[in-house]
């Protein structure tokens, strides 16, 4: 395998990892606060991607500038994802709050089925893509290999910005500290006067927005068809399980690991491409039963 190919694989892996991270970030946040794996997260991703593609298709013919397009892409996704997330929490999750976590997981599965159907009703089953944006952003040369600017700069940039932004939010803002307290121990946090329900609503809105941005960023690079949500959500399950549930830095490391492993597999063993994330997850979980970055949990008798 020559160096150019390795570089290509690394950049592919990087952009894939960034997308994966955006989606896993929302999922792991929700998981941290609610202790529930949100299957409907795949629908946030799909809705973000589809709506961004629709908006881009409106703007594209008017010869809009690239920054405007990118801005429109992000804003649409944040709005759609945030609204969906908030609606889901307010309308449904709150009513099942005290149920068994397994039942809550199934509630999100039910929501996923409903949203999947809605998505097919709104956008139909024709493939949707917004590749024009990638073309307009042009290319850049790195070590003699030509790359898409979109893939090399924009996507990883936004992923890193979200990571640092979220870390700052969690560490230095009051709301963020409250959120961390809820993640750490919901009951004690409530006893300290933190409105856990409001935090929950925020988390879902934020998680939804992150998932939708992930979708919006991938729609220029891949084609969206019905079923894309189901595929993406299980891959991001693999990421957060590898990372340890609720671990943000862990999610970053795990997405990079899984993204690079997948990109390497694409160039060397294409048969294993799809299997890679799950293989990694199974391997990690076998060695560290609750993920790479998990913290020890007290035993309750």
């Amino acid at each position: 395998m020559n160096l150019d190919l390795l570089l290509l694989a690394a950049v592919d892996g990087l952009s894939y990892a960034s997308l994966l991270f955006m989606i896993a970030l929302g999922l792991t946040l929700i998981c941290g606060v609610f202790g529930v794996i949100n299957v409907a997260h795949g629908s946030f991703y799909a809705f973000g991607g589809y709506s961004a593609a629709t908006v881009l298709a409106w703007l594209m013919p008017d010869d809009a500038s690239v920054p405007l397009l990118v801005c429109a892409l992000l804003c649409t996704a944040i709005l759609v994802g945030g609204a969906l997330g908030a609606l889901l929490e307010r309308g449904i999750m709150r009513r099942f709050q005290d149920r068994d976590p397994v039942l809550q997981l199934l509630v999100t599965f039910a929501v996923f089925m409903i949203l999947e159907n809605l998505q097919r009703m709104i956008w139909g089953s024709t493939p949707v893509n917004a590749g024009g944006l990638v073309g307009r952003m042009g290319t850049i040369e790195l070590l003699g290999v030509t790359f898409m600017k979109y893939q090399l700069l924009l996507v990883p940039g936004i992923a890193l910005a979200s990571f640092f932004g979220l870390q700052c939010l969690l560490r230095y803002s009051i709301t963020g500290r409250k959120l961390l307290a809820v993640i750490h121990h919901r009951e004690v946090a409530t006893a300290l006067g933190i409105d856990a329900a409001r935090m929950g609503l925020m988390t879902f809105a934020l998680g939804g927005a992150l998932g939708a941005v992930g979708g919006a960023l991938s729609v220029p690079m891949t084609t969206f068809v019905p079923g894309v949500a189901a595929d993406m959500v299980v891959t991001s399950f693999a990421v957060i399980a590898t990372a340890g549930l609720g671990q943000i830095t862990g999610a970053l490391v795990a997405s990079i690991l899984i993204g690079q492993a997948r990109a390497l597999a694409v160039y060397t063993l294409p048969e294993l491409e799809v299997v890679m994330p799950y293989l990694m997850m199974v391997l990690v979980l076998l060695i560290r039963p609750s993920g790479l970055f998990s913290v020890a949990e007290a035993r309750r008798i």
Binding site: R95, L106, A110, V111, M113, Y278, V282, L285, P289, I301
Partner: protein, 319 residues
């Protein structure tokens, strides 16, 4: 529910199913599908009694289906029963190996690990074109049943009978297991595992046992369905299928073996009615049904039924 009315009810329902399948041949495939889903969901409810939900059990349907398909294709003329046995045996072998390590995990990690392993099998089944036929799947010749070479209608009728017999038998066996001490230990895993260990019982052994039973049950459903359809595709092992099994098990309730079949009947009805009358929104109907069931009957149809019979409810309160 050791009640004469219960046995009579089961008998009547079976007779009605058979009569329906005999009179309208087009109902045979839906009946077989319903019974196969019921058996698979029964496998999930075995695990659910231990408080564990697997989002990857469709892999055993996949493995058993391909096991049966390979048997039929490699040895033409093999009896359907032998192919079924071969399929189930392969699912059980994989189940034992997987159980050896997933039995340590609980809750979300148990579900995720199963999901991950099932996705490995699913992706491999889709990619290894030369062996599995890729996403087009494997077509299999109609095998003889009990030594008789049958035409399509006869074979489907035979498979309906076989599926019903197996469903009744397995339902009875699993209900016996639920009432046995091994089955009660599984409940204790959900209620309080630490206490279980303190009285000197191995939670891990109980988990392995429950897991292998569940993989066999899902395998039987999968292999039977593959043989009846004459086609095996990787779709049968996708995680959404596993989710459907969980859905059925929740819908029916894990309190009694009959729950899985009640759930499967409702599920199949929604699908059939949906396909006929509201093609565009059947998935939404499924989702809404699931929400309603979880909201109003978290322990499924069986749990709902038991609420009205307090005398009986006491013995399975924990389930």
């Amino acid at each position: 529910m050791r009640h004469p009315a219960f046995s009579v009810g089961i008998g009547c329902a079976s007779a009605a199913l058979l009569a329906m399948a005999w009179i309208w041949p087009w109902t045979r495939m839906p009946v077989i599908t319903f019974l196969c889903y019921g058996m698979a969901a029964l496998g999930l409810s075995v695990l659910m009694r231990a408080g564990q939900v697997s989002f990857g059990h469709a892999m055993y349907a996949l493995i058993a289906g391909y096991g049966a398909a390979f048997t039929v294709r490699t040895f033409p003329g093999t009896d359907a029963l032998i192919a079924l046995a071969a399929g189930v045996a392969s699912a059980v072998i994989v189940g034992v190996v997987v159980a050896a390590f997933v039995s340590r995990y609980r809750g979300i990690f148990f579900g995720m690990l199963n999901l991950g392993i099932s996705m490995v099998f699913y992706s491999l089944a889709g990619k290894l074109y030369t062996w599995t036929g890729g996403t087009d799947g494997l077509r299999l010749e109609r095998p003889p049943l009990l030594g008789m070479a049958l035409d399509r209608g006869g074979f489907e009728w035979g498979m309906t009978l076989l599926a019903l017999l197996l469903a009744l038998l397995l339902g009875w066996v699993v209900q016996r297991y639920f009432r046995s001490s091994a089955g009660q230990i599984a409940i204790a895993i959900r209620v309080n595992e630490t206490r279980l260990e303190y009285i000197g019982l191995s939670a891990r052994a109980a988990m392995i046992e429950a897991y292998v039973i569940s993989s066999a049950l899902v395998g039987i459903g999968g292999a039977l369905l593959a043989l009846a359809q004459g086609l095996m595709t990787p779709e049968g092992g996708y995680w959404l299928r596993s989710g459907e099994y969980v859905f059925i098990a929740i819908l029916g309730g894990a309190g009694h073996a009959i729950g899985a079949f009640l759930g499967a009947a409702v599920f199949e009805l929604i699908l059939l009615v949906g396909a006929a009358y509201f093609t565009a929104i059947w998935q939404m109907v499924l989702g809404v049904t699931l929400l309603i069931v979880i909201f109003f009957a978290p322990s499924g149809l069986v749990g709902r039924f038991r609420q009205f019979r307090p005398g009986r409810a006491a013995e399975d309160q924990e389930s």
